[in-house]
Amino acid sequence: MLQFLVIVVSSTLVYSAPLIFTALGGTFSERSGVVNVGLEGIMVMGAFSACVFNLFTADLFGSMTPWIALLVGGGTGIVFSLLHALATINWRADHIVSGTVINLMAPGLAVFLTRLIFDDRGQTDIIQERFGKFSFPVLKDIPFIGDILFKGTSAPAYLAILVAVISYFVLFKTKFGLRLRAVGENPQAADTLGINVYRMKYAGVLISGFLGGIGGAVLVQSVSSQFSRSTITGQGFIAMAAMIFGKWNPLGALGAALFFGLAQSLGVIGPQIPGLENLPSVYWQVAPYVLTIIVLVLFIGTSQAPKAIGKTYIKSK
């Protein structure tokens, strides 16, 4: 039983970490009023850049490589999300169209660059320095709980949880957060109060790029270990669902991302659950998506999104 719990918890954390980061990113963007359907594409670019950076600098940075690569992935995410910011904030593009462009562009661009770098192959080499299992120094010795939560676990997941808590404080307890939310709820009023609406929206979208890029970087360095077209397959969309599921609240998004992580890992560990080993795997594969729909229908009201979401703010109005 203990052994089983250990597997469930650790694999849940591994699968959740990328979703948590990306869902938090989406929360910042949408709180500022910019819909971000492009999280998937941002993750692709984050994963690609982190993977390439990791491959080329592993000799230099050793075991620190994956962590530095997180920042590289985040940086690439920022650059890539600039496209979305420019289109939606300045150029009055439909937010969903722009996000779709991000999703169309990223795999093409990333695989194109992969071919350039790796002799026309559509996938990278396998990275050597990846996020291994991590044990907390003192906490791991706590009986029972230590074994389940703090021994041989995923370090990026704990970082993601920390970032979620920080994001909560930033959004709800700081002046910056208040302004960001004001811009997403009522940009006219915010503008009247002297808040630079455009700058706040840029902040929201670029933070989403940073965190989404990190999400992709975590995924490639803890799950797939190499970049190809199939590295990111829908995790960005799932993260978006987690954000909505979590009612645009960082802690809610954290909870939802953990739930999706658990659901996704069920596809892997489900067949090991005693009594259910004969259930066809299709049920485990479909469960997270069907559950999401059911939970959305049952628990989420209709008017939870920031009020001015998806609307381009035009100052002269």
Binding site: M105, G108, L109
Partner: protein, 353 residues
């Protein structure tokens, strides 16, 4: 020709030019010769009758998914689940074809077409129903439904339609959409009767949206659901109707892939590309039936031609970058309109005109 009509043509055309230029820059910066790249592409798309056939073959299902996207978009819904709805149609039509291989051709093809369209329509209808009844975001629901059908379909292929194989056998002659004269005309390409279905759908949808009460209601609901409700239209009914029509069209797109192009169904790593490409085609064509036809052909040229680019040593992914940039410029059409001297007015709303 009115000014806005002119703009309606100018924006996509300029976007295409910008997209191609950007693709050329990408090739230049990466050390490739854009002239070689694009001539390989054009030659690969139009050089032989076989390739031309493939261009139209690829465009056929895209026309259907794009029409599906625009019908939903006109009514105010973002149907991101076209790919799943197409897969649903694909799966059901091939399953039917496998179940009744000896039925007379006219009956079997009709059965498969209707079955596929109904399956796609019902599948999209789930999202419409949930939105109408509970206000659930159709974006999230259709995304989730994409994954759901993907796994169900793979399971069906592997364990129900076959005995642990990755693909079903080729469907019987009686269910096939291939017609010998189209193949002879195009040097043995996979061009099939799907192109006629797509053209018929363009006409039907144009009439439906422009000339019927149902179409008028759908457009009204898209513009202002509250006013439409006040005017006595049933917004909930229209929500479901719009999604069902969209899904049925996407489902037909899947049927064409199943019965025409591939003639079977196989285990897939992701939902069919015609879904997301259909969205892009619809955006590029401004949701206008004729625009959709032209942009679907353009997509066919880019994608079929792109396959020949590695022959010139250039990765075919350039094409994806070009396509994404084209849509980007269409999306940011405000800037283009602005540059054309038109202030303030949004030309691109994706409505069926």
């Amino acid at each position: 020709m009115s000014k806005s009509r002119l703009n309606g043509f100018a924006v996509p055309v300029i976007s295409v030019i910008f997209g191609l230029v950007l693709g050329a820059i990408v090739m230049l910066v990466s050390g490739y010769n854009p002239v070689e790249g694009y001539s390989a592409m054009l030659n690969g798309a139009l050089g032989r009758s076989y390739n031309v056939g493939e261009v139209f073959r690829l465009a056929s299902p895209l026309i259907l998914t794009a029409l599906g996207f625009s019908v939903a978009y006109t009514a105010g819904f973002f149907n991101i689940g076209l790919a799943g709805q197409a897969l649903c149609g694909w799966l059901v039509s091939v399953s039917l074809a496998q179940s009744f291989p000896d039925m007379p051709r006219i009956l079997l093809v009709t059965l498969c077409l209707v079955g596929g369209a109904v399956a796609g329509g019902l599948y999209a209808g789930i999202a419409g129903f949930l939105r109408a009844k509970f206000g659930t975001s159709e974006v999230i629901v259709t995304i989730m439904l994409n994954y759901t059908i993907l796994y169900i379909s793979n399971h069906m292929v592997r364990y129900v339609l076959t005995d642990n194989a990755d693909a079903t056998p080729i469907i019987s002659e009686n269910a096939s959409l291939r017609v010998p004269f189209l193949q002879q005309l195009t040097g043995g390409s996979r061009l099939n009767a799907g192109i006629f279905i797509a053209i018929a759908a363009i006409i039907v949808i144009w009439i439906l949206m422009k000339k019927t009460t149902a179409g008028f209601e759908l457009r009204s609901v898209g513009i202002n659901p509250f006013a439409s409700q006040y005017a006595g239209m049933n917004a909930n009914k229209n929500i479901v109707l719009a999604m069902v029509i969209a899904g049925a069209l996407a489902g037909l797109g899947g049927v064409i892939e199943g019965l025409g192009t591939f003639q079977n169904i196989y285990v897939m790593a992701a939902v069919p590309e015609i879904g997301f490409d259909g969205m892009a085609v619809s955006l590029l064509g401004s949701g206008h039936p004729i625009g959709i036809f032209i942009s679907a052909i353009l997509f066919g040229i880019l994608k079929v031609g792109g396959l020949s680019m590695p022959g010139a040593g250039i990765p075919k992914e350039v094409v994806e970058i070009v396509i994404a940039s084209i849509i980007f410029f269409v999306g940011a059409s405000y800037v283009i309109s602005y540059l054309l001297g038109r202030f303030g007015k949004n030309a691109q709303k994706g409505e069926i005109k």
